[in-house]
């Protein structure tokens, strides 16, 4: 491991902290030193922690309903009863089930996302339009949703610094050596001002 590369990384770290806390030089040392020690000494610990952090798939509601339930859904809602009068009378379950798949989450379960998406049709009780356009409009809306925004630049920069430190095999240096290197970089910065 080259000490010069460590020095360069620390220099960037000092520079980074100084940009965010220009008048608070007393913060530079504890912040950088703690980060370095934490980053180096606990590398394996984090890896274990991250790998043992369990995430799961959530179960959903049951989608397949009996014919009676589907029929009751259309019959017990005045607007749907009117819109699907013929299909209800003929017990046309092919059409009713296809419409149920789109209208039950919206009118039955009152999904807020779908309610917002189909508000004009709900207001005008144009249920057939909802059923026919459902798939395409929901897919488009989902595609249009952006991934949650990036973290603030400061955190991104800190993250990069942490990764750089990790990559430098800094564990070969003692704590005292690291302290000295950080202090040296802070002094260098102060000297420039």
């Amino acid at each position: 491991m080259k000490v010069s590369s460590v020095e360069k990384a620390l220099e960037r770290g000092v520079q980074l902290v100084s940009e965010f806390f220009p008048l608070k030089t007393y913060l530079y040392f504890p912040v950088l030193y703690s980060a370095c020690i934490w980053a180096i000494r606990r590398r394996e610990e984090w890896k274990g922690e991250i790998f043992s952090w369990q995430v799961w798939l959530d179960p959903d509601a049951i989608e397949v309903k009996p014919d009676e339930f589907v029929l009751d859904f259309f019959e017990s809602h005045p607007g749907l009863q009117k819109a699907y009068k013929e299909e209800i009378k003929a017990k046309d379950f092919k059409t009713l089930r296809a419409a149920f798949r789109t209208l039950y989450p919206l009118i039955g379960l009152e999904d807020p996302f779908l309610e917002a998406l189909f508000k004009p049709e709900l207001d005008s009780q144009d249920y057939r339009k909802i059923a026919s356009e459902f798939e395409a409009r929901v897919n488009k809306a989902k595609n249009d949703i952006e991934a949650v925004e990036e973290k603030p630049k400061f955190l991104e920069a800190l993250k990069n610094f942490g990764q750089e430190i990790l990559a430098l095999s800094l564990y070969l240096l003692s704590d005292t050596q690291i302290q000295k290197l950080i202090i040296k970089e802070i002094k260098k910065l102060k000297g420039k001002r």
């Binding site: 007393y26 912040v31 799961w56 798939l57 179960p59 509601a61 049951i62 009996p66 952006e146």
Partner: protein, 287 residues
């Protein structure tokens, strides 16, 4: 006496310090897990838009992790995010990649979850029977509750779909076998509201509305995993109420209705057909 003129650390510094420590140790895998969990939290609250935004971010992070540090967990996370975004083909590829990467000791949960994820991507690709077998295997073998919960729901949905077009006798057999399987799960973990919800749904297909109501009421009391399932369970309760109203003899109905009134009062419903969360009563019978 301390002559050090340095001021004490302000709260804002402590906060940023914590951020620093956190940020320094962040890996894409950790971030993927974090964003995925956030997506789940919003999804459970029925906040679809936010859930999708978080799942998309989780997918980005998982892709980065898989690119820089390929591992079974990186592909697992990628597949899970894809599954929630309904990207079936991508999800299937990710879960297969997770298997080929190999799981470490202590990662049995991730291995089972990958199998679960893989099974979930199969119906979207037209392989329903294979999915059903995978869920059945996991229901019999897994000791992990979240795996059992998810597998039970997927297995139930697929089996119910399978039963719909069948002749009455065959349909009854599929439904009774399915009910038995869910009852076994419930016997092992009676306090789990979700298993009671599943039984209520199956009993509804068997047209046993009294028992379906009882199981749904039990599920409501014990708690359900998400707002969507909770609402669906409430609508099942209303449906059973309406069916029983027309099916029960007058005396039995009166007795049932008095119990029902006590339940809905306890639950704070607006009336016998309107749960608290429902905006308005859609009561055609009264119109």
């Amino acid at each position: 006496m301390n002559s050090n003129p340095r001021p004490s650390l302000p709260k804002v510094f402590l906060l940023l310090f914590c951020f620093f420590l956190l940020a320094a140790c962040l890996s894409h895998l950790r971030e993927a897990k974090f964003y995925y969990s956030q997506g789940q939290a919003f999804s459970r609250q029925y906040q679809t838009e936010k859930a999708i935004a978080f799942y998309k971010r989780a997918l980005e992070e998982a892709k980065e992790e898989a690119k820089k540090h390929p591992s079974a967990q990186a592909y697992l996370l990628k597949g899970m995010a894809e599954l929630n975004l309904e990207l079936w083909k991508d999800a299937e590829a990710s879960f297969l990649e997770a298997f080929s990467s190999g799981f470490e000791e202590g990662e049995e949960w991730a291995s089972e979850l990958s199998l679960l994820g893989l099974a979930s991507s199969l119906p979207g690709l037209g392989l329903k029977d294979l999915a059903l077998k995978s869920y059945s295997y996991l229901l019999d073998k897994s000791k992990l509750k979240p795996v059992s919960l998810y597998a039970a729901q997927k297995y139930t949905d697929l089996a119910l779909a399978q039963s719909l077009p069948k002749e009455e006798k065959e349909k009854q057999k599929i439904l009774n076998d399915l009910l038995k399987k869910m009852e076994n799960l419930s016997e092992k973990d009676f306090g789990c509201g979700f298993y009671h919800y599943l039984q209520s749904q199956i009993l509804s297909h068997l047209a046993d509305y009294r028992k379906s109501f009882e199981e749904a009421a039990m599920a409501r009391e014990l708690g359900l995993p998400s707002e969507k399932i909770f609402r669906d369970n409430d609508l099942q309760i209303v449906f059973c109420y309406e069916k029983l109203k027309s099916l029960l003899p007058p005396e039995e109905w009166r007795e049932y209705e008095s119990h029902y009134e006590a339940w809905i009062k306890k639950w704070g419903w607006k009336d016998s057909q309107t749960p608290g969360w429902k905006k308005e009563a859609n009561n055609a019978a009264d119109n």
